[in-house]
């Protein structure tokens, strides 16, 4: 498969948030300010990329030779949990400001379905190592992009006279629906 097709497909056409419904929690939770959204995007990018590559290696070099593929979920989640712990420690040391503003959402990357979802996708799509890298990079760039666009829209929504009951999450979800509609148009890219 063409690497370009994999990348574009992962980043835009099959965007992880808007068409695969993965990673909705941070999408709604950490998208109120654009700098937070970018910080979250960067952290998730790092975790998704490393986790997918590690998951691929573990699956093909440990699980398959020993014929214990059913351990997939448990093995992957352990990799992800330790990676997140690592990112948390690094951020705490080098960027305490970002660490503080991400708050509870940092440990929640462990339970970000986008990470486990991508790791699982890599296995079910039977990618090789290079394809895995390109795919996970595409996915995480798509994630960061949508997070950023959505957060800038939400910053403006704060100023808008939305009716009291629809203020906050309901209007954000409806905005997401319109964004998903726009991303449909990108289907012709590949």
């Amino acid at each position: 498969m063409d690497l370009y097709v994999i990348f574009m497909g992962a980043a835009l056409v099959n965007n992880i948030i808007l068409t695969q419904f993965l990673g909705i929690c941070p999408f709604l939770g950490v998208s109120k300010k654009s700098d937070q959204a970018i910080g979250m995007g960067a952290a998730v990018t790092f975790v998704i990329f490393i986790a997918s590559v590690l998951a691929y290696c573990i699956y093909s070099f440990i699980l398959v030779p020993f014929e214990i593929e059913y351990m997939q979920t448990i093995a992957f989640i352990l990799v992800i949990a330790s990676l997140v712990q690592f990112v948390e420690m690094v951020l705490k040391k080098y960027s305490p400001a970002l660490y503080k503003s991400l708050g509870v959402f940092l440990p929640l990357i462990t339970t970000n379905c986008a990470v486990l979802g991508t790791a699982n996708n890599v296995i079910t799509k039977e990618f090789d190592l290079i394809q895995t890298m390109i795919y996970s990079l595409g996915i995480s760039i798509g994630f960061t992009l949508v997070m950023y666009i959505f957060s800038t829209i939400r910053e403006r929504l704060e100023q808008a006279p939305v009716s009291r009951s629809f203020n906050g999450n309901p209007i954000a979800l409806i905005t997401a629906a319109i964004m998903a509609l726009a991303f449909f148009g990108l289907g012709g890219l590949v």
């Binding site: 068409t19 419904f21 990673g23 909705i24 309901p170 998903a180």
Partner: protein
Amino acid sequence: MKTNSLFNIFTTGIFKENPIFVLFLGMCPALGVTTSVTNAIGMGVGVIFVLLMSNVIISLIRNIVMEEIRIPVFIVIIASLVTLLEMFMKAYTLDLYNSMKVFIPLITVNCIILGRAEAFASKNGPVKSAVDGVGMGIGFMIGLLAISFFRELLGTGAIMGVQIIPVAFTIPIFTTAVGAFLTLGVLTGVMMVYQNYKKDNKEKLEKAQEAKSEVA
């Protein structure tokens, strides 16, 4: 205190802290598998099972596990339960398994399960945790059913295979991502309208009573 009674714990999960409409936890399956009511029921039952078991197990071991490593321990327990569920579904309900394949391993990372483990089961006894698990699970399932009902009805015109709206009048976009976000957004909005209405009434009543007592 009355708020600690088992019945209250049970209903909290269903109404006051409904995972989907109030807590906004477990959004991914709520949007991903709700294309049909059948899928929603399958997912709901799966989540109730995992949530109940994980809450009970975690509350039983809550005093043994060290504070620092509790998250990895919890997540491994949840992952094992999900693997169990996956094997079970593959063996007995293959059709259902195939129609929501991607989302079954993802129950592991459903925020609602780890969220309840952390917020409730690690602080309360096994009986209370079991009740909380079932309550939250049912609340989650109600949310799924509500979303999938509208999506399936408007998108395909049928509910569980029974055609209600003629195909010519359906809105296929409701079966896609757009419909998922839109349905959830409007439903939460409507929930808020109702809650605000109740709050306003209560405030009005309180004000009226205050005025009365002042006069008296």
